[in-house]
């Protein structure tokens, strides 16, 4: 065990897989010599050589398209899209190709690729460096969508994603790279070193896809969250003094529906939190699942706390970000309902 930040855990996952599996190759914009703009691939080219970790042109469609071809050859590419906001040029290759090739070839060709990308706000990135596009990918059948919230999970989930034989969109909450951010924009910046989930094994281990984590047990209300919002939900629980059960989904596709249903059936109340815009967000799917499976246990309408349905505004980041105060307010409302 050693203490790692989330960015170090992501780096460690790739290093472990590069040394274990000669078919793994890592590439993207600035990831080779420089080690990535967030340092996720730092040292990988030096350690494993240019054939295993290299730079690409600024061409997200090209990066993903080439990765699909490599996957068809039998390699296991791990590519970085520098910001999730830049992933749209690759959307055709992801939605029409990566997601469909196993199906349309009746299993003859597969796409065992992992597309890593930093997402979310909290770094004053404005509307082109802050987006949370997970809902666009959960809507595409054939893709898996994974979002970690701690260094331990980041490494274990990324290893599982790389080993997975289907295409995985691995979204990394960039505000969590260096510390567990709870949404108090005026608070002191915390580092991962004092957080229990920064204890990370140096070698190989997996956190399975499709298993949510109950990060806090409680009786009053269930809070469903992922990524940065897990920490915000915990802060809201503490700030409000409420006995909330906080569930970290960890992977949206496949989704651990049993853990969700079990919890909401117990508490009878549900708040869904995500940073992405509300309309047609993944929270809508969660709300539909909860009402379908827990209808007779629900004591109050389900509440969603999300980013507003606007682009991510630069100067109004903290008015946009669904922070602990808004989450706590929703919890109180649902508990009173």
């Amino acid at each position: 065990m050693t203490t790692m930040s989330m960015i170090q855990a992501v780096n460690s996952a790739m290093a472990v897989m590069l040394s274990r599996d000669p078919k793994v190759v890592v590439f993207g914009e600035d990831v080779g010599y420089f080690g990535g703009v967030f340092r996720a691939t730092e040292g990988l080219q030096k350690t494993f050589g240019k054939n295993r970790c290299f730079d690409t042109p600024i061409s997200e469609g090209g990066i993903v398209g080439a990765a699909i071809g490599m996957g068809a050859y039998g390699m296991r590419p791990v590519v970085e899209i520098q910001f999730a906001d830049y992933i749209y040029p690759a959307f055709d290759q992801l939605a029409s190709e990566a997601a469909r090739i196993r199906y349309r070839s009746a299993g003859e060709f597969t796409v065992p690729i992992t597309v890593r990308s930093p997402y979310g706000g909290g770094i004053f990135g404005g509307q082109t460096h802050s987006q949370s596009p997970e809902g666009l990918f959960t809507h595409v059948v054939g893709l898996k969508v994974v979002i970690p919230s701690t260094p331990y999970d980041a490494k274990g989930l990324l290893i599982s994603s790389i080993e997975d034989d289907d295409p995985v969109i691995f979204l990394e909450p960039k505000r969590l790279y260096s510390g567990p951010f709870e949404g108090h924009s005026d608070g002191a910046v915390k580092s991962w070193s004092t957080h229990p989930a920064s204890e990370v094994p140096e070698g190989h281990y997996r956190v399975p896809l499709g298993q949510a984590a109950v990060v806090r047990e409680g009786a009053e209300v269930t809070v469903l969250a992922y990524g940065t919002m897990v920490h915000v939900a915990l802060a809201a629980t503490r700030d409000s003094g409420m006995d909330a059960e906080v569930i970290d989904l960890r992977s949206l596709i496949p989704l651990d529906v049993d853990t969700i249903v079990k919890s909401v059936s117990k508490t009878g109340r549900c708040v869904i939190v995500h940073e992405a815009t509300r309309t047609s967000g993944f929270g809508a799917e969660l709300a539909a699942i909860v009402q379908k499976h827990c209808f007779f246990d629900l004591e109050a309408p389900i509440e969603r706390v999300t980013g507003w349905d606007t682009p991510y505004p630069h100067a109004f980041e903290w008015q946009y970000f669904p922070g602990p105060a808004r989450v706590a307010e929703a919890m109180r409302q649902v508990a009173a309902g």
Binding site: V25, N51, T56, P57, S59, G61, G62, G65, A66, A67, I68, G69, M70, G71, A72, Y73, G74, M75, P89, D92, Q93, S96, E97, I101, R102, Y103, R104, S105, A106, G107, E108, F109, T110, V141, G142, K144, D164, D165, D166, G210, I253, P254, L255, V257
Partner: protein
Amino acid sequence: MLDSRHRANHADHALAAQDVRAAVLELRIPEPAARAGQPVDFSKLKLSAPGAVRRPAVAAVADSMHDLAYGLIRVLDDNGAAIGPWVPELPSAALAAGLRSMLRTRAFDDRMYRAQRQGKASFYVKCTGEEAIAVSQALALENTDMLFPSYRQQGLLIARGYPILKMMGQVYSNTLDPLKGRQMPVMYSSREHGFFSVSGNLGTQFIQAVGWAMASALSGDSRIAASWIGEGTTAEGDFHYALTFASVYRAPVILNVVNNQWAISSFQGIAGGEAAPFAARGIGYGLPALRVDGNDFLAVYAVTRWAAARARANLGATLIEHVTYRSEGHSTSDDPSRYRAADEASKWPLGDPIERLKRHLIARGEWSEARHEALQNEVKQEIRALQREAEASGTLEANTTHSPKTMFEDVYKDMDWRLQRQRQEAGF
């Protein structure tokens, strides 16, 4: 100041200084030389005489051959003689095999087109007039090389010996369909035959082929990749991605643009083909770029061997523009008589690829009209018999498909709970 000689030579492009003055701006919307009801006009098509274009050494640098993107590599002359520096070394038996594959492809297209018209299939795409490209390139490549085709390279599969019965099963979506009725007709896939699953989204396979080639090079393999798109698809970003990656990483791949003049109703000028040949796009990427007579079986073979030799020697990718003509509609959902002159196909200056190879074999003393007719009949009988056999396993009309239960499989390697529950909900 441009002199008058220069102006005369470049009347379409250059303006004398006195002509350049501010004006009310107007947008040019390109139009083809002839639409329906107008006389055929191929006067703007730039041709070279057979044998006239030089053949650079395989190891020549790309910078030294820009002229090849503007000429037209041709081997067969009007009498069926093979002339010039690109004449390939091909035994007559190989040419006869190529002729047979082209005839089988054409007969197969003909039967499947009719089957669609009879309601036995939802859709079909013929490659009539373009058979030489796929068939000759399949012959020029190794069977282990990987192909990333568009939907009009059925000749690749046929030339590689893929069972036509299975292709028919795919077109009918019946129980013979290896793809279990999941894909529209003609979107074949065969890992065994090195034929990548055809996409209906245009151009995506171009950069995938480059990725496959990069993987082959990274793995120290000896296999190369090839891909095909139409001239209309060069306007897609994937074309640019593919050429950029192929150039940057010197990937062992052959990138083919099949310029059949028409993208549904849009003539090649709508994709920018009037401003410069599609082959010339390669120059800006530093890639060797060849423009070849796509209806000349020998020329297509020769340029493909040249490009493959470069790729196998770590000299990287080649862009090839095949100049051909789409003799039939884009698909069974298209009616070309609405947008182009009816007799364009018969007046296409580069003729028909099957006729031209036949003439060459006859000129070589290896073939005759009588033998050709006999082969044609034999192939027709073979395809008809296969069609009867295929239809015994069902057609779309007769709805003899795989179980609908299978539509929930292969979305992921392992079916997740959603799909299991939805399959139950659907009643399978």
